[in-house]
Symmetry: C2
């Protein structure tokens, strides 16, 4: 099946979690907005199509299905491409972890937009400094401590069981994004994230992922995405 | 099967979405912290048990499984109790909608805690006013407009297909929470939420839900939960 991914063409954003799964699987897909422009997304948001209505990108077209919400797209794709254990318990745990990643990604976004997504960062800079200070001091350590603990309870290498899953790729992306946005904070947490950093390196070395990261298909991190590097927000 | 729900005993919070599904299904469950106190939750958060590790409540014990993340718990429970269509497409759409409800609930929480969950509301009141103004002016209309559209594209009565599902109960809870927290804003949106308000009334009249809402098991909304009523945050 040829998938169609709909996500903003200029950023990694939430779509990157889906791109990584598709690339890792060696799936055939079109990154629609990168080929046809962001306006290709709009008819779906305006309810001018059949199938499920997305609230926002990313969404995936798979045959007649339209599927939105990052964690939901991944839960749909993964069993079709061997990226999650076959057991119901394994899939449920994977969904739980991915939904927790969704939570921390939303909080990472709000460090630069703590008041309104309709306003520029520069209009909410003072509040962004406060929110980021709390995010770096409390939330990053809490979330990464949790995921580190998950790895320790498993085989030390994988989020679920003893095999690679889409959650591992998502943790790679989470680590990469946090390291881009908050290098000082992440450096201070090096000793408390040994399993996560080893996982990040292992995922980056998977052949399909390595080829993707080296290709022009991987959009560099930038100041329009979810993970943004403002030095004033990473002073810890 | 007797389920065990673990959630803070003093608030509706995120746990209420699970309570509503369990009550609607007529399932047998123990609301553990309400019987044994909130400290019964802690061993699970401290990793002192077998099974999946939760990041935070709510989580559900079902036999040997431990399942966390509200949308994930509901996706697990619903097919076992006829609260979601049997088709894969129906379940995927239900998960998408529930995860979108998760997003708006997180944003509702952040109206009173825009800077840090570790600080009191009173310490972030100025920022809370700004964030709430944006939430009421932009985000509530956008989210409810979306869900209203979902109902209009369906049979007008149900989120998924032509039958009641757990998403309907969650939309009831979302509407109830927003009406408690932001009565002025919600009043101003009355004409744009006709389907959602009819759905809310229909769900409230389901026999098991009506019995639950009239029972002491339904914790009243209060100022410790996710939906809080501060008049200064609802000035629209």
């Amino acid at each position: 099946m040829r998938y169609e991914l709909y996500y903003w063409s200029g950023i990694q954003g939430r779509g990157e979690f889906v791109r990584l799964a598709l690339e890792d699987a060696g799936a055939t897909y079109t990154d629609v907005a990168r080929e046809r422009g962001d306006q290709a997304i709009m008819p779906f948001l305006r309810s001018e199509h059949a199938g499920a209505l997305p609230f926002a990108p990313p969404f995936l077209r798979a045959g007649r299905l339209v599927i939105a919400q990052t964690a939901n797209i991944l839960a749909f794709l993964a069993p079709r491409h061997g990226l999650v254990p076959a057991s119901a318990a394994g899939r449920t745990f994977a969904a739980q972890l991915q939904q927790t990643i969704t939570d921390v990604v939303a909080e990472a976004h709000d460090t630069h937009h703590p008041i309104s997504v309709e306003q520029y960062y520069e209009e909410q800079r003072a509040e962004a400094r406060k929110r980021s200070a709390a995010f770096c001091a409390e939330r990053i350590p809490k979330y990464l401590g949790y995921f580190e603990n998950v790895l320790e309870r498993g085989d030390g290498l994988h989020a679920i069981g003893r095999r690679h899953s889409y959650v591992d790729s998502s943790l790679f992306q989470l680590m990469s994004g946090l390291e881009y946005a908050f290098p000082n904070t992440m450096k201070s947490l090096r000793r408390r994230t040994t399993h996560l950093r080893a996982l990040r390196d292992r995922v980056a070395a998977r052949p399909n992922i390595a080829a993707y990261l080296a290709s022009p298909r991987r959009i560099p991190f930038n100041q329009d995405g979810i993970f943004r590097h403002y030095p004033e927000l990473d002073e810890s």
